[in-house]
Symmetry: D2
Subunit: 139 residues, 4 copies
């Protein structure tokens, strides 16, 4: 397996192409075993009670999986999510960042499939799992 984009290349790509989200999300590590991305939790991500909202977790999984695919195929700006499924399993810990651990399960010519487990930093039990299919544009 070749790494086409490493952590720094992915974070630079996010900062340039996704300035709206680049402050909240960043890639922590990239390796053969997968990619880890972080949601830096702030007020905007919270729901009543202080836990991170479902859409913020969805956004984290989406970004982590997108970056995991780019880490393998390089900076393809037009890859788009075609379908996603997510299970919310536990309440995230209030005021703690979330980490998504992502693995690429299929990297085809047209479709890529990956999944992610999300957990509150410092805790093992996952708060959510997500799987997504991305459509990769022809070169």
């Amino acid at each position: 397996m070749t790494i086409a984009m490493d952590r720094d290349a992915l974070n630079a790509f996010l900062a340039r192409d996704f300035p709206q989200v680049a402050g909240s999300y960043r890639v922590e590590s990239v390796g053969p075993e997968g990619l880890v991305a972080r949601l830096v939790v702030d007020e905007g991500h919270l729901r009543p009670g202080g836990t991170v909202s479902g859409p913020s977790m969805f956004a984290l999984a989406d970004l982590a999986i997108y970056c995991a695919i780019l880490s393998r195929i390089g900076p393809v700006g037009l890859a788009v999510t075609t379908s996603a499924s997510i299970d919310f399993m536990r309440k995230p810990v209030a005021g703690v960042d979330l980490l998504a651990e992502c693995r690429v399960l299929k990297l085809g010519r047209v479709l890529a499939v990956a999944d992610a487990l999300i957990h509150s930093e410092g805790l093992d039990e996952p708060v959510a799992r997500c799987s997504m299919t991305y459509s990769i544009p022809p070169k």
Copy 2:
């Protein structure tokens, strides 16, 4: 079928309990056939190219389905999404609000299931479909 909360009651509930999102999302109509919610699209929802981001569409579906369930059971603040599946089918039209049309398929004692079709205002073809399960807390 009884309507436990109408459009105005739902919008008032959102404004009070979800102030972070109440500016962007609002309930348009509630009836026996279902609920329609609107995403008032602004810069924060966009991706490169000017289309609405996937997470923003997920958030719209989540809010529409949540309100559709509340319209039937009343203001239960602790109902939570347990699982969701979403298909992104077309690019939303740039700069146009999105509408989610939602129907409740099951309203059980513990779980509720609903789905939603999302389309750009003024266009028939759906840009996304979504189904979600909500867990309803015991009274």
Copy 3:
């Protein structure tokens, strides 16, 4: 919308290409509004308690959606399901056939998306909902 294969053409296609399942599943109607398929319930589809098994409902949805796509594009034997999501909402009535009502939501060059509601014949409330993405091979 053009109907490329009608009910009889679809049932003949199933009998020829899917002899293992053609006895249990058949297309009831095809029209602009969608397709209806039937599962003729027998012992092999049941679980303890006499209700139809989850995998049998999944198979019904898969076949209904496949036929709904073929009704629009003609007999493409190599269209394959790439992803599916299903919610089981109620217990099917024991000893009663199941009907799947299916609508095609997107018919792209490469991917098609459709969903289906399944109910016990004679009852309105759905026992399951399903959405699927099919990959369509290049001509």
Copy 4:
């Protein structure tokens, strides 16, 4: 983690309560890291071209996840699948058994969530992934 039912107990449970499927599916191993189940492929599971059908893979994932939950909570016959999502990623190898490797991600009082990777025996790359939610009846 306690193992409430081991491999032999699970296979005996299947043989008694699910005689229709017990010939095709069996539990291979149960451990703290998860459960592995096998689909003994025969003619009835095949589609044109000799590959295992999607519904047969769904049935394998369903059974593997059901058994993984029972391995933790004991023989609860009334646990039911409430939702499932599956991605079909590669063609299974013709004439080769399928193995599902399953892990329990959440074991709550009311809901359990697990996922599974399915591959053709002897090959590493997964042919499908599946996640499911089960509803557990009150004791």
